[in-house]
């Protein structure tokens, strides 16, 4: 009798009934693999891991409920319809009936994904939680070249570009950006929206190359879903700002490839509504400039906003309320570059900085047309330059490399610019995503930044009696904690050292005593001496023994878990060790 024998007439039970393999699923859905893949991607259905794999280990298993979920999807029917329609077109073409084929092509059935998005993400927060991949993908495709071979149309690339800019404009406008990290792979951004931390990666603005080992149809299916998702999310976000979506952009700026700037202006303009005094924002520093700006905005308003907006006054109020509601972090972020004016040189990555600087309250301009102010503006405080040497230098401003901005943003303070001068190799750029304490290794520059932060806080902090702010500031607390921990560690180390010295002294005394008793037990002494020669080794051995002893009595499951944990810890400590050794070697090499 086979192992899984089931008498006739008895239904399947357990895992055999609950899961089916992929080929079974295909059969029951009557679709081919590529269509199944599309459905899975769009519906967000993924394989599951049954406790017991009835059909064998090398199969992919789907839950029966998942498959029936796909079965009842109207989109499945729609896809079938599209397929028959395409057959019609083919037939017309084959019969040389060009007219009919053309006519048919103009009326192709289409489908929409909005219902699916609602289904997959019942609440807005859900959608935000899964936004990482979406943003990364859309940002990647925004810089890809359109390609016929890969079926990537120009339209889609442009759409991706537009969506990514809209997203960035919102983040920048609401000052929700928290961390930026320039890596080799691209620039990582982390924003915080409704309590969700959203991290995405934008590639460096250089033409990407297509590789052959990638199946574009998969990517494009994902992209299709992501585009729709991001559009809806953007709509919701813009709606929350009381801005019309999709935004209508200043065509002049758009043509100059300053979409982001155009967008942010648009948002500013529309969300302000009919505010007469736009200088309540960060741009209060320079009056003349401001007036120009406001005029521009008003001009935009006239043709962009619906002429009679009853809610305008309302949302000014709402806006004000929001300002109050803003959390501490946003306030810090908003005022980081508050009174600073930046000017970007030609070679600087403009897109990124145009996004980051306004997000932290700075004012930016760039070299080229459509820029809000020119290079010779006297009020410019920082000139971002990425060349080995600057040509004409204004004395009134500081010339820094772009990394300075990213480091400032991550540290939340204005760092001294000496190290970031033109032509010098800037200090290492550290990842803001790493918890140095948990990792066990703190790079030098992180220490420096920490010290600077402490100094800045002392400058800024009000009298201790006020108290509220420093209590709320988590970084402050953290820092204090760190300090106390470090001190503790130091003290403990000193203590240990003292104890060791003491112990050594006692041992020496003991040895002398034993020396007198040599004659009594020569063999013992011999052994003892042998051990004495490597006292440390023996000590560590016994210590290890005592720590290992209890593991003998653990159950196998627990022991495995324990060993795995130990292994992880060891790996971590080894990595730290390697870093420290490398550092030591580097220091030695320098001296």
């Amino acid at each position: 009798m086979p192992k899984h024998y089931r008498p006739a007439g008895k239904k399947k039970e357990g895992n055999a009934a609950r899961y089916m393999t992929r080929s079974q699923a295909l059969k029951s859905l009557q679709v081919n693999l590529s269509l199944f893949r599309r459905l899975c991607i769009v519906k967000g259905v993924f394989p599951r891991e049954p406790k017991k794999k009835v059909k064998g280990n090398h199969h992919t298993y789907y839950h029966v409920k998942d498959i029936s979920f796909l079965q009842h999807e109207p989109l499945l029917e729609k896809f079938r319809e599209i397929r028959t329609y395409q057959k019609k077109v083919l037939k017309a073409k084959a019969k040389k009936n060009e007219e009919l084929a053309r006519l048919l092509l103009t009326r192709q059935p289409t489908y929409k994904l909005d219902r699916l998005i609602r289904e997959r993400y019942p609440t807005f927060i859900d959608a935000l939680r899964d936004l990482d991949d979406c943003l990364t993908m859309v940002h990647l495709f925004a810089v890809l070249p359109a390609s016929d071979r890969e079926n990537l149309e120009v339209k889609r690339v442009h759409n991706c570009r537009r969506l990514s800019h809209e997203w960035q404009a919102y983040i920048s406008r609401t000052h929700a950006l928290r961390k930026v990290f320039v890596s080799v792979k691209g620039i990582y951004y982390q924003a915080e929206l409704e309590g969700q931390k959203i991290t995405w990666l934008t590639p460096h603005a250089i033409q990407q190359v297509f590789t052959n080992d990638v199946d574009f149809s998969v990517l494009l299916t994902f992209l299709e879903f992501y585009e729709t998702l991001l559009a809806f999310i953007n709509f919701k976000l813009y709606h929350s700002l009381n801005v019309k979506y999709p935004p209508i952009l200043d065509s002049r700026l758009e043509a100059l490839a300053a979409d982001l700037y155009a967008l942010s202006r648009y948002i500013d303009a529309s969300s302000r509504g009919m505010t007469v005094e736009p200088k309540s924002d960060a741009s209060s520093s320079s009056q003349s400039n401001d007036r120009e700006e406001s005029e521009l905005r008003l001009a935009q308003l006239q043709h962009q906003l619906p002429s009679s907006e009853p809610g305008a006054l309302m949302h000014i109020v709402a806006d004000n309320n929001k300002e109050v509601e803003e959390d501490e972090e946003t306030r810090v972020c908003k005022s980081l570059f508050k009174d600073l004016k930046f000017f970007l040189s030609r070679e600087v990555p403009r897109e990124s900085l145009l996004f980051v600087l306004p997000a932290f309250g700075g004012m930016v301009s760039w070299e080229g047309e459509g820029a809000p102010f020119k290079e010779d503006d006297e009020s410019i405080t920082h000139h971002i330059i990425d060349k080995p040497s600057a040509g004409h230098m204004y004395l009134s401003r500081e010339y820094v490399q772009p990394q300075w901005i990213y480091d400032c943003v991550n540290a939340r303070i204005i760092l001294p610019t000496e190290k970031y001068m033109v032509g010098s190799i800037p200090p290492p750029h550290l990842s803001p995503f790493v918890d140095n304490e948990a990792e066990g290794y703190v790079p030098d520059y992180a220490e420096t930044i920490k010290r600077l932060q402490a100094a800045a806080r002392n400058d800024v902090l009000p009298l201790p009696g006020v108290g509220k702010e420093d209590l709320e500031d988590p970084q402050n607390l953290l820092y204090a904690g760190v300090m106390s921990r470090a001190e503790e560690a130091e003290a403990a180390r000193n203590k240990k050292k003292m104890a060791e010295l003491e112990k050594q002294y006692h041992e020496e005394l003991k040895m002398e005593l034993r020396g007198s008793a040599v004659d009594v037990a020569p063999v013992v002494e011999e052994v003892g001496e042998g051990e004495e020669s490597v006292p440390d080794a023996a000590n560590t051995q016994t210590a290890q023994d005592t720590s290992d002893m209890p593991t003998l009595l653990m159950s196998r499951k627990k022991r495995k878990l324990y060993e795995a944990m130990k292994k992880g810890q060891k790996k971590k400590s080894e990595a730290v060790e390697a870093l420290e050794q490398r550092k030591k070697r580097l220091n030695a090499g320098q001296q």
Binding site: F46, D132, T136, V182, P203, M565
Partner: protein, 774 residues
């Protein structure tokens, strides 16, 4: 009404058709000319020139229309429109349906002629209306002029072949005499460019590829071209909108072309047309046909309007959100801290690793390498595009839709908290923890040791064939017995008044008199070891064992049929069990020394490893490779109990002096504690040694047990058995005893406890016996 309309519409066309009709008659005359007219269009320049020439030749050139118009003119000139219309209607009467098709056909037919003929008819109209019969004459003249012009113009007679065929040749074609026309020297590009820049007339120069020469256009020619570019007629004086003149004189026609009466259908509205109209009207009313495009619904709208309503629980399976990607660390920075960049050697070592183990992101230093991606950049602008961006994105996509997702609980606890709380070792003292004495003297690995029951002496057997007797306290070697074979096992008689020693080597078991003890005891021993007349053994036993006197040291030698692996004394000191590992079913025998009798009590299943007597009752424990069986010595032949160790290969066994607990050591380094009251499965399994366990031992009185292993360590445990049956035995590991060194792959080969003191003897493969004291 209808008639009139059609007439108006078709006015032009009809004239043309007529002219065509007429032209057919003329065609024979002017065929040549028509052929000439249809020149290849590609040779624009040439044809242009020719046309020009034609123009130059003036009014007497070959206008085909001339002849045509002439012929027309010769007929009736002043006809009426209505008449012509009449004509048309007559045709219509013939066959309404065919009419249209005919018209079309006509149109198509006419197209080749129309282009030239009709046009020229028109042009003729403007210039020379009523030029009369001269036309035909002119035609002839034109033909002549045509031929003369042919002689003059094209130098090249290569014919209508693609000029590419001559691309690589030195000549461009042949002149009329058949000689090759050589190509002109190609000018240097720069020179030609300069020349063109200098020449103010350059813009009107055209290169004639066919004749390989530059042609300078005259003013007129350039004007001509300009007009053609604009899409106008080449000649300025050509008027395309001349008023229509009906040349046909309809008045004179007496007979209609067709005499058939007008059909009825000409006078009633068409039924089918009406039906079609009704059909469309209905379709429009029903909304099947829409004239204005449907309003496009907005693609995006407020999807999550009010989140409070969407709290309903999904009926579907729980959604497992995809895990977020790992956030980048310091090493992924474009400008990492220098210590994050591995050295060359480290990188080389990464290369040697398995792909799974290799760190997936390796930062490299500023120094430029050929194919390794450089990861430290002096400035932002020098970062290149990341080549794996698409690939990584693709992999992520694959993960998202192809990988099974499982919710896993990540335990974030201190690993130390997993360890069981054990009583402090200090409270469990005394136990052996440090080496106190070493007994040196053997030259081979010490395979076995045994303690005398008083604890004053130990005996040891070694692979060098010697058995030594040591005094425990001093480490003095009292006696040495030398044998030919390596000693496998030694065992003291448990009775204190019979200090005799059983030594197993090869196939022999020798009972030795140690010559310790008082004279009376000695006498007893001598009596015991006297092999008098042996009782007749059973046949089955005789095949296995034979009792012989030992000539060497005056004891008893019991020869077995297979090599002995283990021996054990019964507590009463009279019985001795022997295990022969390769003896299979006959692997265990029991000797009775007093009666010099051997019995083969049981049929063993499997390979016997060890046989041990119960310390207080008449049971025998026999360990085979995987299981331990308990036999009652007095009654039955079948085992009373079977203990399943679950280990691969048992190597040793020891019984707690209480008799209800048992430890079993295995060759995979595991040790099992059986509580026989509890179950036939191990109460606790300890994996303490990485290598084979060679022996396990209980202390007689202290709650201690030990294991020795080939990894040159011995473990000492606290193993307390409670009298209360509800309480499980307490096992606490106490000490790892190191000190022996490994030799020939063997570590500690045997361990025994001192019978009185909490001391442990260990016999090492390094030929040393050690005593560990508390």
């Amino acid at each position: 009404m209808k008639k009139r309309e059609t007439a108006n519409k078709d006015q032009m066309r009809e004239t043309k058709s007529k002219s065509k009709n007429v032209s057919v008659s003329v065609k024979s005359q002017k065929q040549k000319a028509v052929v000439k007219e249809v020149k290849p269009v590609e040779k624009e320049v040439k044809s242009l020139k020719e046309e020009d020439l034609l123009l130059d030749s003036g009014t007497d050139s070959d206008y085909d229309g001339d002849s045509l118009s002439g012929s027309l003119n010769s007929d009736d000139f002043d006809s009426d429109i209505f008449d012509s219309e009449d004509d048309g209607s007559q045709r219509e009467t013939e066959d309404g349906d065919r009419e249209s098709s005919k018209d079309e056909v006509h149109g198509i037919e006419g197209s080749d002629d129309n282009d030239d003929e009709g046009e020229q008819v028109d042009s003729e109209n403007g210039e020379e209306d009523g030029s009369g019969d001269e036309g035909s004459e002119q035609d002839e003249v034109a033909e002549e002029s045509d031929s003369s012009e042919d002689e003059v113009a094209p130098r090249n007679t290569v014919g209508d072949v693609p000029l590419e065929w001559y691309k690589d040749e030195k000549h461009i074609g042949y002149d009329i005499t058949g000689k090759k026309i050589t190509k002109k020297e190609k000018q240097d590009k720069l020179d030609s460019f300069l020349a063109t820049m200098d020449d103010s007339k350059n813009w009107r120069k055209i290169y004639d590829e066919y004749n390989d020469e530059e042609v300078e256009l005259t003013k007129e020619e350039s004007k001509l071209i300009r007009r053609m570019l604009k899409g106008e007629a080449p000649h300025a004086d050509f008027d395309p909108y001349t008023p229509y003149v009906d040349w046909f004189k309809w008045d004179d026609a007496i007979h209609p072309l067709s005499s058939a009466p007008e059909p009825k259908r000409r006078f009633i509205p068409s039924k089918w047309e009406a039906k079609k109209v009704v059909k469309y009207v209905r379709a429009i009313r029903k909304g099947l046909i829409k004239f204005d495009k449907p309003e496009e619904e907005p693609n995006v709208y407020l999807l999550w309007g009010d989140d409070s309503t969407s709290d309903q629980k999904s009926k579907h399976l729980t959604y497992i959100p995809p895990p977020k990607l790992k956030l980048p660390g310091h090493e992924e920075s474009y400008n990492p801290s220098l210590e994050y960049i591995p050295t060359e050697e480290e990188k080389a070592s990464y290369e040697l690793m398995y792909e799974e183990d290799r760190p997936n992101f390796i930062p490299t230093s500023l120094s430029v390498m050929v194919n390794v991606f450089v990861h430290r950049f002096a400035s932002l602008r020098s970062i290149p595009a990341y080549p794996n961006a698409l690939k990584e994105s693709f992999n992520r996509c694959l993960d998202l839709y192809l990988c099974p997702r499982v919710r896993k609980k990540r335990i974030n606890i201190d690993p130390e908290s997993l360890k069981p709380k054990l009583p402090s070792r200090k409270d469990l003292r005394p136990y052996p923890n440090s080496c106190y004495l070493e007994y040196k003297g053997h030259t081979g690995a010490v395979t076995s040791i045994s303690t005398e029951c008083s604890g004053q002496w130990i005996a040891s057997g070694s692979t060098d064939g010697s058995v030594r007797l040591w005094e425990v306290e001093t480490g003095r070697c009292l006696k040495i017995w030398q044998f030919d074979e390596a000693v496998k096992c030694v065992a003291w008689n448990p009775l204190s008044d019979f200090p005799i020693l059983a030594v197993a080597m090869g196939r022999d078991l020798v009972i030795l008199n140690t010559e310790l003890g008082t004279d009376e005891e000695q006498k007893n021993i001598k009596d015991l070891l006297q092999l008098g007349d042996l009782p007749e053994p059973k046949a089955a036993v005789a095949a296995i064992v034979s009792w012989l006197p030992d000539e060497l040291y005056g004891g008893i030698k019991i020869r077995h049929f297979k090599n002995i692996s283990n021996i054990d004394w019964h507590r009463k000191g009279d019985y001795l069990s022997t295990v022969m590992a390769s003896g299979e079913t006959r692997g265990v025998v029991i000797h009775q020394i007093s009666k010099k009798v051997t019995t083969k009590p049981y049929k063993i299943r499997g390979l016997p490893v060890s046989a041990v007597f119960h310390p207080s009752r008449s049971y025998l424990f026999i360990a085979t490779k995987k299981n331990v069986r308990v036999y009652n010595l007095l009654t039955v032949d079948e085992p009373v109990k079977k203990l399943e160790t679950g280990m691969r290969e048992i190597s040793s066994m020891a019984i707690h002096p209480g008799g209800d607990n048992l430890i079993v050591g295995s060759k995979e380094g595991k040790m099992c504690w059986f509580d026989m009251d509890l179950s036939s499965k191990p109460y606790k399994t300890l994996k303490n040694h990485p290598k084979d366990i060679t022996n396990v031992a209980y202390h007689r009185s202290y709650p201690l047990f030990a294991s020795s292993s080939e990894d040159s360590t011995a473990y000492v445990f606290h193993g307390k058995v409670f009298n209360d049956l509800n309480e499980n035995p307490l096992i606490v590991p106490l000490e790892i005893l190191r000190g022996h060194s490994s030799s020939n792959g063997g570590g500690v080969l045997d361990c025994k406890f001192h019978p009185r003191q909490p001391w442990l003897f260990t016999a090492g493969a390094d030929s040393i016996i050690k005593l560990y004291c508390h």
